[in-house]
């Protein structure tokens, strides 16, 4: 039913998909958190992933980034099998993630954060210190955090920390960015700014965004995938999904779904 429910808007073929999972399963002991997920997005796409707590969104991200070893199924990134590879290798192939709980270096400055991300990608491409530093300043500027550059990140407000992490993830220039609840704890102005940034990234790289904030999703989304109890419940354009009765039932906690 999953595949049938999806409208052909963004149904990718195997060759075109930048990332694709087939029958992805993740078990913890007897608990099956992901129950055969078929998912895929095309290069440059921005996909939103929604679903109630416990639907498996964060677990899905952790499988994609190698933080968990999937119990079954395939993950293909740019056509290559990456399921079960260590996080480092996956990161090096071009997947960046902003985790749900901000994962930052509390004792370092914002500039150091960006430097760590830029340095990895520039040095890998054969660049030198001066190029790295120039690129760092540019990222600080374009992401609107130049005024925070020398602040210790552990002392920043929550929304600012979110921005620093987002800047760090994009500074590494990954081909696929996973954002796990980027708007959480942000003020309305910050959310709007974040939406503008996310939209500006679309096209230069592919994004998958997990979010609960429906306002934010309306601002950025075209296609939305709904996860429920470890499976894809539906996949459609944003208006259809938000109107759908099953989706509302799932969010409001009604049990007898489909």
């Amino acid at each position: 039913m999953n595949a049938l429910a999806a409208v052909p808007v963004a149904q990718p073929t195997i060759r075109k998909a930048i990332i694709e999972t087939r029958g992805l399963v993740m078990r913890f002991g007897g608990v099956e958190v992901l129950r055969g997920i078929d998912f895929g997005i095309v290069p440059g796409e921005l996909r939103c992933l929604v679903g109630p707590n416990g639907a498996g969104k964060s677990t899905f991200f952790k499988c994609l980034t190698g933080q968990y070893q999937p119990s079954g199924g395939d993950i293909r990134f740019k056509g290559e099998q990456i399921g079960g590879l260590p996080s480092v290798d996956i990161a090096r192939r071009g997947i960046g993630i902003k985790t749900q709980v901000p994962s930052l270096y509390d004792g370092l400055t914002a500039r150091e954060h960006i430097w760590l991300a830029v340095r990895r990608s520039v040095a890998t491409a054969g660049g030198f210190g001066r190029e790295v530093n120039a690129a760092v300043e540019k990222v600080l500027e374009t992401m609107g955090i130049a005024h925070l550059a020398d602040r210790i990140v552990g002392q920043l407000a929550h929304g600012q920390r979110q921005m620093v992490e987002l800047a760090m993830v994009t500074a590494a220039q990954p081909d696929l960015i996973l954002l796990d609840e980027p708007a959480a704890g942000m003020t309305h102005d910050e959310v709007e700014r974040l939406a503008a940034l996310v939209l500006s990234l679309r096209g230069t790289c592919s994004l998958i965004v997990v979010e609960h904030d429906m306002q934010f999703i309306r601002m950025i989304a075209r296609t939305v995938t709904v996860l429920h109890q470890g499976q894809v419940l539906m996949e459609d354009n944003v208006e259809t999904v938000l109107r759908d009765r099953r989706v509302r039932d799932v969010y409001l906690g009604k049990r007898e779904v489909v």
Partner: protein, 363 residues
Amino acid sequence: MSKRWRTGLSIIAFIAAAAVIYILPSVLELFAIINATIYVSMAILALSLALIWGAGGILSFGQAAFFGLGGYTYAVAAINFGDSTWAVVLAMVVPALFAALLGYFIFWGRIGDVYLGVITLTMTLILYKLFNATAGDAYTIGKARLGGFNGIPSTPPLNLPWDVGTALMPEEIWYIAAGLLLLFYFGSRWLLSTAFGRVVISIRENERRTELLGYDVRRYKLGIFTIGGAMAGVAGILFANCVFVSPTMFSLFYNAQVIIWVTVGGVGTLFGPIVGAIALQMLVAKLGTMNGLDPNVVRGAILILFVLLVPKGIMPVLQSAFERLRARSPVPPEPAAPRSVAPPVPKHEAGKPEAALTVGGGS
């Protein structure tokens, strides 16, 4: 401005340290100079732990293993070669290789912090038992008898490179030891400012994050662990020159002491552990001359007091006091950002355009 301040301070500190090093032998008696050299060798040992624990976040309970291996390698090699030149080189290489091998299994095996502590401690205690059991004629390496719990009392002193005839005097060994301490201190500061060092520090701050950025954290940890091992080996050479090598170099006593020095001086700083090592040894030596006071009890009491009252250690507390004084001075140089540990001073970026996201930030 803050950067220039720090560079200025460093230069002043360097000149002052060099002056003290130069003058000391003309002020102190021979016995005191040898003691001072021992303190300095211990300071180098503390610095090696400051690198791997303070900067790299790897709490090794067995730093003395590399210290002891350095000492023994030096003694055995110097006795066999008759010349200390290559013995010094070997005494750095052997602990470094040992650290690399141990580190390989620890970091590639993804062994957690607690088990890392247990493994390193066990390793050094095994070496302690092993070298204690080397009494008798069966245990000789070339011309060197390992000597069981007596160690190798005839540890040869350093000589000029490739000049066996000229053995160095205690004053000269003092100059070498103190010079090496300076070199290692500024070398470590340089190391931590390089790309390698900055990644190492990021691993201490958040290992998973560094991994998700695509850095192979195992290599960086192995690198800093190996460098720390080599440095501890050098401390062992200097110690062997002042005293002689014996299995106590591997003992729990030394392992615990290093950790106390680093804790008291300040984990995460490089200068603090040096101060901690020298100050505590001077204190304990002083107390040792008094009757009725067990130096070990004093050592333990100091550790407990520091952990309870000054958990960050001497240096961070001094640093933040210094920053606060400067912030209060009538002509503030510039509201420079606090670098590492500093009071959260709210700042207003008056001249800079406010970006949208500071609205809710309350900065």
